[in-house]
């Protein structure tokens, strides 16, 4: 009762605050959004009491330049300017609303909102768009809450968690000026980089893609949060594929990120990367097929960060939605659920997510962000201390034992909630070894166990650049007891007792779960920065999700005492019947 009253008072206060403002708006778009939110609070279906208690609008003014090139030739240039609106309406109250129900997302009434949002700063046109979208969202929410109520009537012990956590209003108004993109210069760079593969005849298909986007992000909600901030991204992707004599497809890629052009690596460094990708594909195509292996595995360089990036995704808890009686839906719980206060890593490891950092030891951090998708500011968050799980990544969706966002809603989620993800994840080791010491530890372990060789992983296929067929064959089958899908190792070596390394191919992990992390026995003194785009898709498969979250993982090399790698047995098409055409450049 108290809670409801407080809610009403808050509403009144916000409404009053909005009436007082008669000054010219600070921002035409934000003002239009706020005006329409204020007006929409009175939306009502005749003879029904359900009313919106929370309305949220987002608008991303997206200007992008994408260009791609292959073997020195331009494939396509795309310039895009589009405004992507987002509308959320919640009916009921914070305690019980239309979300967290199996069909929460399904009753979005298709109103007339299918049209494109106008690109002009015309308040009336912008409001008209939001008006129709709100109408559809509200009708959908009313439908959803009534179905949720009737579904609950048949549930014996319903969930008692609140549906939505309160959050402090935030106001941010940053300049969103744009830098013009030098299309000619970037076209030339893409073509030059792509021409690197003219020197690698074993590469079948290759390409370089530049993606440059400048987003002015607008957000307003009925609680008084109003935001305008730039959200920019530069992404250079270099990829190549090949084929082993037995038909196995080979691929490798390198990717560079920045918030603006200046963050990006030098052209020289990118060219070296392209050459490395060409060399990797060539070497992999000629590499022997490995045998299934069980024993110590050393993750060097970025491989450890790539592995942890996947394993620690589970620090975002999963809430089961209200279900229809008799309908069994397998929504796997997070591997870390219920393990708060328990050891999930060795004692010498700490994990902190700190999206507020912009730099680490002179390197810029890609995973920095100001505010999450729900308008909540992130603060540094200790996740694991001395190997013990301390906190989860939270959105405004309450889960068992936790209510209140810590600003980690970074991707859209299911059942009306956001998906939590980290920004800059730091994995810190209290006890460390030098790189040679780590390798020695690996060799000591194999000699102790009488193994002919150990395994060293330098790169995982994460985010995966595999094609659909490869994904199906590589990851489609049973993957260990938990069914967890972990990216296959891309660069994996046998290390012989004399220290010699041999590149092998055709392996994937078996039975690698969150529990395996407790088998980490040593970490390096050097840490590696790994930047990537999280999209929520399995393997963060490139192109697998509509939204992306810029992420960085900083982690040392890690030695696992015991892991299994299994040989992939799949049948592939034979190499082409016709010999390859010559790779002679026109120039």
């Amino acid at each position: 009762m108290k809670r409801t009253l407080a809610c009403l008072l808050l509403v009144a206060a916000v409404a009053a605050a909005q009436k007082d403002e008669k000054k010219p708006p600070e921002d035409v778009i934000l003002q239009a959004m706020q005006d329409e939110i204020a007006r929409s609070r009175s939306i009502k279906i005749p003879n029904l009491t359900d009313a919106p208690y929370y309305i949220e609008y987002g608008l991303d003014d997206f200007e992008g330049l994408t260009l791609s090139a292959t073997l020195g030739g331009l494939m396509q240039v795309q310039r895009t300017h589009v405004r992507i609106p987002r509308v959320e309406v919640r009916v009921g109250d914070y305690k019980f609303d239309n979300t967290n129900y199996l069909f929460s997302d399904m009753f979005r009434h298709s109103g007339m909102e299918g049209d494109r949002m106008p690109l002009d700063d015309d308040p009336l046109a912008i409001r008209t768009h939001f008006w129709l979208a709100t109408d559809g969202a509200f009708k959908g929410a009313v439908d959803s809450i009534s179905r949720k109520r009737s579904a609950l009537k048949n549930v014996a012990a319903p969930e008692t968690l609140n549906d939505f956590a309160r959050a402090q209003p935030v106001k941010i108004l940053l300049p969103v000026k744009r830098i013009p993109a030098d299309e000619a210069a970037w076209t030339k760079k893409a073509k030059t980089l792509s021409a690197a593969f003219l020197d690698y005849p074993a590469v079948l298909n290759s390409g370089v893609e530049f993606q440059w986007s400048q987003v002015a992000s607008y957000y307003a909600n009925s609680e008084g949060t109003s935001l305008r901030y730039p959200d920019n991204l530069v992404d250079v992707r270099i990829r190549a594929t090949g084929q082993a004599p037995d038909g196995t497809p080979i691929h490798d890629h390198a990717e560079f990120f920045g918030h603006v052009f200046l963050d990006l690596a030098s052209e020289d460094r990118m060219m070296k990367s392209a050459q490395q990708v060409g060399a990797n594909v060539t070497a992999l195509a000629a590499a022997p097929v490995a045998e299934t292996y069980a024993g110590p595995v050393l993750f060097e360089a970025q491989a450890a960060a790539q592995l942890l990036a996947q394993m620690l995704r589970g620090l975002a808890p999963v809430r089961k939605p209200v279900n229809e009686p008799g309908r069994n839906i397998p929504i796997p719980a997070s591997e870390f659920e219920g393990r708060e206060g328990s050891r999930i890593l060795p004692e010498f490891l700490d994990v902190v997510d700190d999206p507020t950092q912009t730099e680490w030891r002179g390197q810029s951090l890609f995973g920095n962000y100001l505010v999450d998708m729900e308008g909540v500011k992130p603060t540094p968050l200790p996740l694991v201390e001395k190997g013990v799980l301390k906190n989860f990544l939270m959105t405004r969706q309450p889960v068992r034992g936790h209510e209140g966002s810590n600003g980690r809603a970074r991707l859209p989620g299911n059942f009306g909630a956001g998906t939590a993800a980290f920004g800059n994840l730091f994995v810190k080791a209290a006890e460390t070894s030098t790189a040679p010491e780590l390798k020695k530890k690996l060799l000591d372990t194999i000699s102790k166990r009488g193994k002919p060789y150990g395994m060293l992983v330098r790169k995982l296929d994460f985010p995966s650049s595999a094609n659909v067929e490869e994904v199906r064959k590589l990851y489609g089958g049973e993957q260990g007891p938990s069914g967890r899908v972990v990216s296959a190792p891309l660069l994996v070596y046998r290390v012989y007792p004399d220290g010699r390394e041999e590149l092998v191919r055709g392996l994937r992990f078996r039975g690698l779960t969150a529990r395996s992390l407790r088998d980490i026995t040593a970490a390096s003194d050097e840490a590696f920065v790994f930047d990537y785009l999280e999209n929520g898709a399995p393997l963060a498969l490139s192109g697998g999700g509509g939204y992306v979250a810029n992420t960085t993982v900083v982690a040392p090399s890690l030695l696992f005492d015991d892991l299994e790698l299994e040989r992939v047995d799949a049948e592939w098409a034979r190499p082409p019947v016709v010999p390859a055409p010559p790779l002679v450049s026109v120039r």
Binding site: R39, I45, T66, A69, T70, L71, G72, G73, L74, M75, Q76, V77, Q78, R79, T80, V82, L102, H109, M112, D115, R116, M117, P118, L119, D122, L124, A125, R127, T128, W131, L132, F138, K139, E183, A184, T187, L198, L204, I331, P332, V468, V471, R472, P538, L541, G543, G544, G545, A573, P576, V577, V578, A580, P581, P582, L583, V584, S585, V586, R587
Partner: protein
């Protein structure tokens, strides 16, 4: 649930393609050492030589098509800009035929539409190594898929069952060579942006219009084609199009829309600004009238279809049934397969397909081309002469009695050719004036003892089922329909009518036509993609037509008034 969703993400993993792009290249394109067609020719010969001699099963035919598409456009709503676009891309299609012309990998099995090509993107510059790689890899992939299907077909028992049509899978045609200049795109972005804004602002006068938009686009399409028979072609055309749409919701929840399109070969052929503004006003007024109009009751009785409505009617219920490949597919209804040289229309009607005709009565026709997508020269095909069916629309897939293509093999990039329509022309020898036709309708209404007849003014389009498993029926979706009363009351606009019926019955009931032909331009979608088409017809009087109520949405209109009304307070 989540796991399943994730799986489908993987399976449907396709890079999102915003067709909203710009190619403002300030590139210095060094003159290529070899022309695109030469590179295609060389790579085709190199690949084919191996696939013909050294592979099993051997290839006997191959072709490459590169479609170079360039487009510019603008779209607007409420006087504001929604998007402006500038695109250029090149898409490669590869055909490899494995086996023999008698039986190859394209062999028709009931209900199957094999697809081997994939529209892979290639460089927009004539970069030789990149183009060669793409041609080579796509040829390999296409050959494999083709070889695999041929092996499957040969082991399929249904081939051994005596098929009614045992004609070959592929025709022999003479090689053609041509290089036709395609006009460059002309586009004044600022001007057309202004026109679009002005037009879209015009809808604001109509409160019933909830959402509206105006799109203006131009496109240039150049096709480069080579095959192993020696055909080598460069041809194409340009397009210009204006589309305006207004949408609203009646108080009972029925979604209604009015629209208008204008097609021509370039912006100079588009109507003057005032005509475009009139079209906006017309669509706005019509929508408001429709929102207030009564809902139709199911009805059977006499009707007039306007020339444009009749064009759609013929395209749907007649055109799709005389496409050659359907006569060969045993899963098809084959309405007309056995009707060759028999009367299928009243004797005063003839139907011609003519892709060589660019204009009629001052109006550009959308369905013209110089060569079809198999490199066969376009030609005029009289399909029905004085009511008698003479032939079918033919690609290079022969039909019993017709071993040769008549230049109607069409497709959009990434799909396989089937026989498709071009410019459909309905010609009549029993013509009367529009006024007389209306009088004939009223006479027929009285004769049948009905209170009213129907007048179909505008039709958006429709669909038709030609499959044997489906009902042999069609449905066209009229936008603007009037009741024409026998007692002299004024005509009454109604909403929510769908024309339904079965094809053969409908044709027999055409009584007369007007003396004035109208043009309906559009894009036809079928198994080989969207292709530009036109249908030209006079208005027709039908003694009996059946309408049913449209499926309608139960959603109520928006709960709050438009923001414009709020801010006016």
């Amino acid at each position: 649930m989540r796991g399943q969703e994730s799986a489908s993400v993987i399976l449907s993993f396709v890079p999102s393609s915003f067709r909203l792009t710009i190619l403002g290249l300030a590139l210095s394109l060094s003159l290529p050492a070899q022309s695109l067609l030469d590179v295609m020719r060389e790579e085709l010969d190199r690949n084919f030589a191996v696939l013909k001699e050294k592979s099993d099963p051997p290839a006997y035919f191959a072709a490459y098509t590169i479609t170079d598409e360039e487009s510019r456009g603008v779209s607007s709503t409420m006087g504001t800009l929604q998007a402006s676009s500038n695109n250029r891309s090149r898409l490669l299609d590869v055909t490899v035929r494995v086996g023999t012309p008698k039986l190859d990998n394209y062999h028709k099995l009931p209900g199957e539409n094999p697809r081997f090509t994939s529209a892979s993107q290639v460089t927009v510059e004539d970069t030789v190594p990149a183009l060669r790689r793409a041609l080579w890899l796509e040829t390999d992939r296409t050959y494999r898929a083709g070889a695999q299907r041929l092996i499957k077909i040969k082991t399929n028992a249904s081939v051994n069952v005596a098929q009614q049509d045992n004609s070959d899978d592929f025709s022999t045609e003479t090689a053609t060579k041509a290089s036709i200049e395609v006009p460059l795109l002309k586009w004044d972005a600022a001007h057309w942006e202004g026109v679009a804004r002005k037009m879209s602002a015009g809808f604001q006068k109509y409160p019933g219009v909830l959402a509206s938009s105006v799109g203006i686009t131009v496109q240039r399409e150049v096709k480069y084609f080579v095959n192993t028979e020696g055909t080598k072609l460069r041809h194409g055309r340009t397009f210009a199009r204006v589309v305006l749409v207004a949408r609203g919701k009646a108080s009972d929840g029925m979604d209604l829309a009015t629209s208008e399109t204008f097609e021509s070969q370039d912006t100079e052929g588009l109507p003057a600004e005032e005509t475009l503004l009139e079209a906006v006003a017309h669509a706005g007024k019509n929508l408001e009238a429709l929102l207030k109009a009564p809902v139709v009751d199911p009805y059977i009785g006499p009707a007039i279809l306007s020339g444009r409505a009749s064009g759609v009617f013929f395209h749907e219920i007649f055109g799709h049934r005389i496409e050659g490949h359907r006569q060969k597919d045993e899963s098809e209804g084959q309405t007309f397969t056995k009707s060759l040289n028999e009367a299928i229309l009243p004797p005063f009607l003839s139907v011609v397909f003519d892709p060589t005709k660019h204009r009629i009565g001052g109006v550009d026709l959308n369905g013209w081309y110089d060569y079809d997508d198999e490199g066969v020269k376009a030609r005029r095909v009289p399909l029905v002469e004085n009511g008698i069916l003479k032939t079918f629309l033919l690609s290079r897939a022969p039909v019993k009695g017709f071993p040769q293509s008549n230049g109607h093999g069409r497709k959009s990039p990434g799909l396989e050719v089937v026989s498709r329509q071009s410019n459909l022309l309905v010609e009549s020898t029993r013509t009367v004036t529009n006024a007389k036709l209306r009088q004939m309708l009223i006479d027929e209404v009285k004769r049948q003892g009905k209170p009213y007849g129907l007048y179909f003014d505008a039709i958006t389009g429709g669909y038709t089922t030609t499959s044997r498993r489906g009902l042999q029926a069609f449905k066209v979706i009229p936008l603007v329909v009037y009741r024409v009363y026998a007692d002299g009351r004024p005509d009454e606009l109604v909403r929510g009518a769908d024309i339904v019926g079965t094809p053969l019955a409908s044709f027999a009931k055409i009584l007369a036509t007007s003396d004035k032909a109208e043009v309906f331009n559009g894009y036809c979608g079928a198994e080989s993609g969207n292709v530009p088409v036109a249908a030209v017809s006079p208005a027709i009087l039908v003694s009996e037509l059946e309408i049913q109520k449209t499926d309608q949405s139960q959603d109520r209109p928006p709960l709050l008034p438009r923001p414009v009304e709020e801010s006016a307070k």
